[in-house]
Subunit: 135 residues, 4 copies
Amino acid sequence: MPSPYQHTYEFEVRDYECDLQGIVNNANYQHYLEHARHKFLTAANIDFAALSKRGVNLVVVRIEIDYLFPLRSNDRFVVASNVIPVSRVRFGILQDVLRLPDHKPIVNAKVIGATMDAVGRAIRPPADLAMLFLK
Amino acid sequence: MPSPYQHTYEFEVRDYECDLQGIVNNANYQHYLEHARHKFLTAANIDFAALSKRGVNLVVVRIEIDYLFPLRSNDRFVVASNVIPVSRVRFGILQDVLRLPDHKPIVNAKVIGATMDAVGRAIRPPADLAMLFLK
Amino acid sequence: MPSPYQHTYEFEVRDYECDLQGIVNNANYQHYLEHARHKFLTAANIDFAALSKRGVNLVVVRIEIDYLFPLRSNDRFVVASNVIPVSRVRFGILQDVLRLPDHKPIVNAKVIGATMDAVGRAIRPPADLAMLFLK
Amino acid sequence: MPSPYQHTYEFEVRDYECDLQGIVNNANYQHYLEHARHKFLTAANIDFAALSKRGVNLVVVRIEIDYLFPLRSNDRFVVASNVIPVSRVRFGILQDVLRLPDHKPIVNAKVIGATMDAVGRAIRPPADLAMLFLK
């Protein structure tokens, strides 16, 4: 059966990511989602840090996150991502966090991004990035 | 002129919160928003950590964040919060991040929360918490 | 050739761990070292989070870190650890961070730990933990 | 009575800085110490982020931290710092973390720093920085 996702990346909860409630702190899911997006870019031969050095910043302009169930110490999970069309200058990614091995849904996120220059003005995405989002 | 917000809390960007783009990393806004909510609770005599020890966990079930403009090293800012009615078992908070001293809008967030027991089941909020959200 | 280390664990730098200097922020090495120690414990069938729930806290009482060379975005590295004898109630671990694949030394750390009860008093380590440090 | 410290900076524990043991995670003390050092520099009209943009990186080459007692949720504390002479190209800072209002010692740290260029070679510190460490 083919995966319904364009990209998946596996993680494991680290204890320092858990807070005094004993569960992964909400902000850390943004770290997981961000790292999975950067690996997605890397898989498409686009280097986030190198772009940043050239003054091309990929930035998140909006994020919606549904927290369905918490991750705990030692949990393994996958971040699964799909690009969705948004507009000529904006791109969207749907990202699901699924616990392993049971694929229990943990988080659903919708991320809207844009390309900005070094002083924060919206610019057209570079060709290689545009290609990724046209596929 | 009365403030249009029920609670405000002032912060300053710390250099370790900035990433290789030279701007505050997205996930850190969730930290700012969370800390401001806990200070909001504290101001209403509700102690997040003490509740957690009693097995009453306040959890975020959904967050929507619009990133309007980035914060940079040394920026001062305020997180301004208002409670909004959602349902008998869910509560909502609108939170704005405003740069100081010019009040430039940085982030707008809508946070939906719920009260859970130690194993993650939704429960009715304790009376003092309910009071806060009925005001 | 046998490894000179009792335990090794491999990591990869995540972009959010880099700060505005473009290198991994110093504090994150403590996260790497801590996670590697917990995996070391796990490999010896000792669960840090479960111990904490039972009121047995493994705490670091002293750390010495030499920062030899910075890690950057996308770098892969290994944390390699060896237990060293310290005293009846304290344990020590030497940890080296080595970049991959060239094994360039990045960080050398010496960590001294102790076992504490829930209110912070030093206690004798549980038998399984003591065993690990007697080997 | 004059303060025995050249610089002090006050903080408050944020709940997201506590881990599943209910105490501030060790790595966060490095964040506190770093932020206090940057405020120390700022008070001497030296801007860490601006230096970094000019390719002058202040880096920590060694840190020794004694963890004496843990901070918990809501604790207020101060980081108190003193410069110590080390060498012509290295500088040292002693930093104490003291809980407020009782000044209970929490952490003692000794930090050795150096000045590096953009590719990581040791360079002589800029004049304004050298001045700070000659006082």
